[in-house]
Amino acid sequence: MDKTNVVTKSSVAASRKYKKNSQLYEIWRNFRKNKGAVLGLTVLSIIIITSIIANFVIDYETQIIRQVVPERLQRPSWKHPFGTDQYGRDILLRILYGSRYSLSVGIVAVMVSLAIGGVMGVIAGYMGGIIENIIMRSCDVFASIPALLLAICITTAFGANTLILMISVGVASVPAFARVARAAVMTVRDNEYIEAARAAGATRMRIMFTHILPNCMAPIMVQTTMRVGSAIITASSLSFLGLGVPPPAPEWGSMLSEGRSFIRDYSYMTMFPGLAIVITVLAINLIGDGLRDAMDPKLKR
């Protein structure tokens, strides 16, 4: 045992020089190198902060939904940087306030599909056999219905309000999450450390959710971020069709829809909400791309 003690003492001394870093820190370090991803994160942070403080700075009753007929359909000016709509409401304020709807619908919808689809995928991937077949085939059935169509069905059946919108958009992307989670679990499932955990007496539930799931985080996190972007688009589309957040709430999609009839003469009314959607989704997709690159095992030294 003398030899071994010498070995460990010197290796302890050497290890002190290294920073104790977790995988999360490694990912952040790679993420920072990607300029586009950092730009996306900055933009998204600004949008998130805006959406949080909008509630305190902007008064919903007087500044968002009150109609000011004398100021209707004004082009962008210093007083109204993005102009006003057909009821004389300031479009800039409405867009700033509207970020609350788009972001919350996008994020909550993805959380819904992550919770349902993720759990389904993990169980399918780990258990295999009949259980996997039942779960994945029913996902296939759902996936064969176009996401937007499915969301329209749910909102028409249960009524158009924000909560139903979140759930319907979420349910529509459950199959995608189940597939990603299942594929990720299947690559991790056969690793020796999973067998080791089984040999140590861990229960099936414990192996699935505390041993396998954290090792599948990379593809699931990328999928989650990417899906927030498409969930925002789906939610806006539904609002555009009048099935999402009901007016007069300033949801970006419904603002686009309202501006549609004025597009020939007052194109700014559709341009600014459209830009808001594009920038938000672009920022989220940039983050998603950056995350995917940062988590790519090929980049590890």
């Binding site: 045992m1 290796s11 056999g129 450390y193 067998e195 089984r198 007496g201």
Partner: protein
């Protein structure tokens, strides 16, 4: 050796993998007894069924396609093949635990080493997280790693240190039986010696029975009290270290020794056993080793050999000994 020292008794264990292409007869009737503080080396070529035997003891054979066809594995007087899944989860890690072959992949990369050791304590004992973590640090010290490295991740450990950490996990609940599946194959020779010494020391201290699975006869000579040689799912020769190493009886065991370099005659060519292990989906009718055996006769090819006890400790399974004058070329020492 008294009977109450008996910890595990395997009788006539048969494991098949039933695939679409055919039935793979991985383990074909094995008897093995493990006693307190004693270590058994399970030796054999790749595909002889060594790992399948070990996994059967933990009931971890991948199912499907693996099926335990027959046999009993008695632990503490109870057959573990009759246990429920829940009871098995309690036995694994507490009564029987296993050290895996490759230290590089046997630790979970997203948890610190300390957390992983603490986990296996918490699974079986009613202790708080903090206590378990303290115990984990002590266990690390026990295997010769400084306790304050418990909060590091596996990728910050070297191969030898990871194998030590894995040993610490396996011994966390002081199991009665430790299965080591080629614990040193992935390590270089200097670390190998340290790890073997560590396993030996800890076995003495905790009164554990050890099943050492290996294809390295040098490792067996260093660690084990008894040796069982496996071929095509059967134990063909079994006995004390001296029995098998110095009074070799089975032609296959002889072939294994001939394939080792001889330190006294460095220019001598190695004599590998000709041919390959028979296809386990299609085993020969007679002795499975007969197609490769230099001494094989017609009886060997047509009849399954039966176990033959040469002394109270030494068993060999070879029909050639029906002829009293038969002996293999390797001389007794």
């Amino acid at each position: 050796m008294k009977d109450n020292d008996l910890i595990i008794n395997i009788e006539n264990l048969i494991v098949h993998y039933e695939t679409e292409e055919g039935t793979v007869r991985a383990v074909n009737g094995i008897d093995l007894k493990m006693k307190k503080k004693r270590s058994i080396g399970l030796v054999g070529e790749t595909g002889a069924g060594k790992t399948t035997t070990a996994l059967a003891m933990l009931r971890l054979i991948p199912d499907p396609p693996g099926v335990i066809k027959n046999g009993v594995i008695v632990l503490n007087g109870e057959n573990i093949l009759d246990k429920s899944v829940k009871e098995m989860e309690n036995i694994r890690g507490k009564d029987i635990s296993m050290i895996f072959q490759d230290p590089m992949t046997a630790l979970n990369p997203v948890f610190t080493v300390g957390e992983q050791i603490a986990e296996s304590i918490m699974l079986h004992e009613d202790v708080s997280k903090k206590e378990a973590y303290e115990r984990a640090k002590e266990l690390l010290e026990m295997v010769g790693i400084s306790g304050n490295r418990a909060n590091e991740y596996p990728h910050q450990f070297s191969g030898g240190m990871r194998q030590r950490a894995i040993i610490a996990i396996a011994l966390a609940c002081q199991p009665k039986v430790l299965i080591a599946d080629e614990p040193t194959t992935a390590l270089d020779v200097t670390i190998q010696a340290q790890v073997l010494e560590l396993i030996n020391d800890l076995m003495e201290k905790h009164e554990t029975a050890l099943l050492m699975i290996t294809h390295d006869l040098g490792v067996v000579a260093e660690v084990c009290d008894e040796v069982a040689v496996m071929y095509a799912g059967r134990i063909v020769e079994k006995g004390s270290l001296e029995d098998v190493f110095n009074r070799t009886k089975h032609p296959y065991t002889e072939g294994l020794f001939n394939s080792l370099p001889n330190i006294k005659d460095r220019k001598a060519k190695l004599k590998p056993i000709p041919g390959l292990m028979p296809d386990p989906t299609n085993l020969p009718i007679g002795c499975a080793f007969s197609p490769r055996c230099p001494y094989a006769n017609d009886i060997c090819r047509e009849q399954k050999p039966v176990p033959r006890w040469i002394s109270s400790t030494h068993m060999v399974e070879c029909s050639a000994y029906d002829d009293p004058s038969f002996h293999i070329a390797r001389r007794e020492k």
